[in-house]
């Protein structure tokens, strides 16, 4: 999924980290978590109606 794009619906009440893991994504490779256009940590608990964007660190430097 690196470099690609996907949209999924996720459950509320779980953290971003837990949700990533359940989707088979290693949380450590996610650089940025933006919820409703505000940066959040991966421990943010997802609420009803939240729009979450995650960006992977593909490269750097």
């Amino acid at each position: 999924m690196v470099g690609g794009r996907a949209e999924v619906e996720v459950e509320t009440g779980r953290t971003v980290r837990q949700t990533l893991e359940s989707l088979g994504i290693v949380p450590e490779v996610v650089a940025l978590v933006v919820v409703n256009e505000v940066q959040q940590s991966k421990d943010y608990v997802i609420q009803e109606g939240d729009v979450i964007r995650v960006l992977a660190v593909i490269g750097g430097g």
Binding site: G3, G59, G60, G61
Partner: protein
């Protein structure tokens, strides 16, 4: 010759002589441009044992085939020389618009030779090329000088200028351009200062011939489309390199208090979105860039206007110094840029000094009365000035952490965070073995640009010591710096993850020569071995000891943060190095084997 300006400009500053030579076709075929031309001229023309600050050293500035072209990121030039900081190879990539203008003046390389008897600037306006008096510019800061030229000549004239740091031969003095871009590391600014060249001003109106105009247009548009369609474009452009501050903090890669840890308890005040909201006023890019990563900032606290701070400066002048105020980091950035010293080396050196102070190795008597505790913003600002002017306590720090710690002793060498004499840039590597190896074996010293491998470390297992990790580092070292050879930026591939195959038809349409990425990586491998041979030639007894990391990364496990309690074992450091040498075809002491040199077709070059 398709794809090239066609001329090498030689400036003999001792004699005041300027001449142009045609760019040799076989050099262009084999070394392509940029960093490739740099190592070619460096090896051929700088004699063994040359003093980096003496008349025999040369400063070689090279554009590449995609510089100034309608290809994303065609805004980089390479500055190659023998490094005052390390005594080895220096190659610094500078963005902005200088490379494009240089090409439009018909120049593939500019070679500064000898030493001018008095301060001069090099003026290039198409075929009108002169050395002009710079005595009224000497001593002025870089922004003032650049603005003076722009106001007088016009915005189209591109300026590369040294500050007081370069004039004072600070071993990590940089060269400034477009107010916010630098040829940053290794002391390229000091070499320019030693030659008494304050600035290079360039303007041109010529065209670059291309082999296939329609093919070039199509390939360039395909590359721009790929950037435009990239999933990460919006966030990358919004935050630039600051996009990774939070991530590095989270995974223990953010240098904190002289790399004693990889996470900073107040790090969240330095994160990209916080910076964007607090101080960023616009985005700024280089020539031909569709994804401007530069963040132009203004602080209310200090009245700063600066392009930056970048991730590196946030790491080394922020968390590394225990400073969590993004406005202070921006101001420190501005001071360094105006004075013309590398923010990475300066921040690293100040962090070392703070640890020394906190350990009682220095007292206020040594530090000109400065209370050098972590977090002291005012002391940081004062030290930057002192370093650039080599005054007082700044004179010691100006030497770089390797020499400074050797002079001071008292165990301070153990926490000088450097490799080969170059201060490590802003990734803490207590537990990230590919990135650690990358820093150990980078060809200019401890810099991250060649093989940035931390994501890979985290994907496969950060403490693994495997041949696959080593192979990954080697591949990145052969591949990534090829953008410096082509005269462009790697960040479109690195950050937007566009398909690198799209560059192949562009390069072929421009130069008329087909080169696959396999071909390009072969050139990269050849250049890598040549730069290694340069180190060996210039440093008596050069061996694997030169590739060892700071002992911090195998002795001092962090006491806090994401990598608390984690450290790399010394035996694993050596295992990594052994595997690296084996895969590179080098001896166990780290020198290219004869058969490797022959297999790469380099025998004639190093004869």
């Amino acid at each position: 010759m398709n794809g090239y300006g066609g001329k090498i400009l030689r400036v003999n500053l001792s004699k005041g002589e300027i001449k142009k030579e045609p760019t040799p076709a076989d050099t262009a075929r084999d070394f392509i441009g940029g960093r490739g031309f740099g190592i070619y001229f460096l090896l051929k023309e700088v004699p063994k044992g040359a003093d980096p600050l003496g008349p025999e050293n040369k400063l070689i500035i090279s554009s590449g085939p995609i510089s100034g072209m309608m290809v994303p990121g065609g805004g980089k030039c390479d500055w190659t020389t023998k490094a005052p900081l390390t005594g080895g190879y220096a190659s610094s990539s500078m963005g902005g618009h200088f490379t494009a203008e240089m090409r439009y003046a018909g120049l593939d390389s500019i070679i500064l030779e000898g030493i001018s008897p008095k301060p001069v600037f090099l003026f290039i306006d198409d075929d009108k090329i002169e050395l002009r008096d710079a005595s009224d510019l000497w001593g002025k800061d870089t922004f003032t000088v650049e603005k003076q030229f722009k106001d007088k000549l016009g915005e189209e004239y591109q300026v590369a200028v040294i500050g007081v740091g370069g004039e004072n031969l600070v071993p990590y003095a940089c060269i400034n351009h477009d107010y916010g871009r630098q040829a940053g590391r290794g002391g390229v600014g000091a070499v320019m200062g030693s030659k008494k060249v304050k600035a290079i001003v360039v303007h041109g109106t010529k065209s670059i011939p291309v082999a296939d105009k329609e093919g070039y247009r199509k390939a360039g548009m395909a590359l721009y489309k790929a950037c435009k369609d990239a999933e990460g474009l919006k966030d990358w452009t919004r935050y630039g390199t600051t996009i990774v501050v939070s991530w590095c903090d989270e995974v223990g890669a953010l240098p904190t208090r002289n790399f004693s840890a990889g996470s900073f308890e107040d790090g969240k005040n330095l994160y990209g979105p916080v910076m964007r909201e607090k101080i960023v006023i616009t985005d700024k890019g280089c020539f031909g860039c569709p994804s401007p990563c530069g963040k132009y900032s203004r602080t209310k606290k200090y009245g700063t206007y600066v392009e930056g701070p970048e991730y590196e400066t946030i790491g080394l002048m922020g968390s590394n110094l225990g400073i969590d105020d993004i406005e202070a980091v921006a101001q420190a950035n501005l001071l360094c840029d105006n004075l013309g010293i590398d923010t990475i080396s300066a921040g690293n050196a100040i962090g070392w000094a703070m640890e020394c102070f906190e350990k009682g190795i220095f007292t206020k008597k040594d530090t000109d009365g400065l209370e050098l505790k972590f977090g002291n913003v005012d002391a940081t600002f004062k030290l930057i000035e002192k370093i650039a002017r080599r005054e007082g306590f700044g004179a010691l720090l100006a030497e770089g952490v390797k020499r400074a710690s050797q002079k001071v002793g008292k165990g301070s060498e153990k926490f000088a965070i450097q490799v080969k004499g170059m201060e490590q840039s802003a990734y803490a590597t207590h537990n990230a073995t590919a990135m650690l190896l990358a820093y150990m074996t980078c060809d200019v010293g401890a810099h991250h640009n060649r093989s940035w491998a931390i994501t890979y470390d985290l994907q496969v297992g950060r403490d693994l010591v495997t041949p696959e990790k080593v192979a990954r580092v080697i591949w990145l070292q052969n591949f990534r710096p090829m953008f410096d050879v082509l005269g462009g930026c790697r960040l479109q591939w690195v950050e937007l993850n566009i398909d690198r195959e799209l560059y192949v038809p562009a390069l072929e349409a421009i130069t008329g020569i087909h080169r696959s990425w396999q071909d390009l990586e072969k050139v990269g491998e050849r250049i890598w071995n040549l730069t290694r041979l340069f180190w060996a030639r210039e440093n008596e007894g050069f061996d694997r000891a030169w590739d060892m990391p700071s002992p911090r990364f195998y002795q001092d496990a962090p006491k806090s943060g994401a990598t608390r309690g984690q450290i790399t074992k010394l035996e694993d450091v050596n295992r990594l190095l052994d595997m690296y040498y084996e895969q590179r075809g080098w001896t166990l002491q780290g020198l290219p084997k004869t058969e490797t040199i022959e297999a790469l077709g380099l025998k004639a070059m190093v004869a």
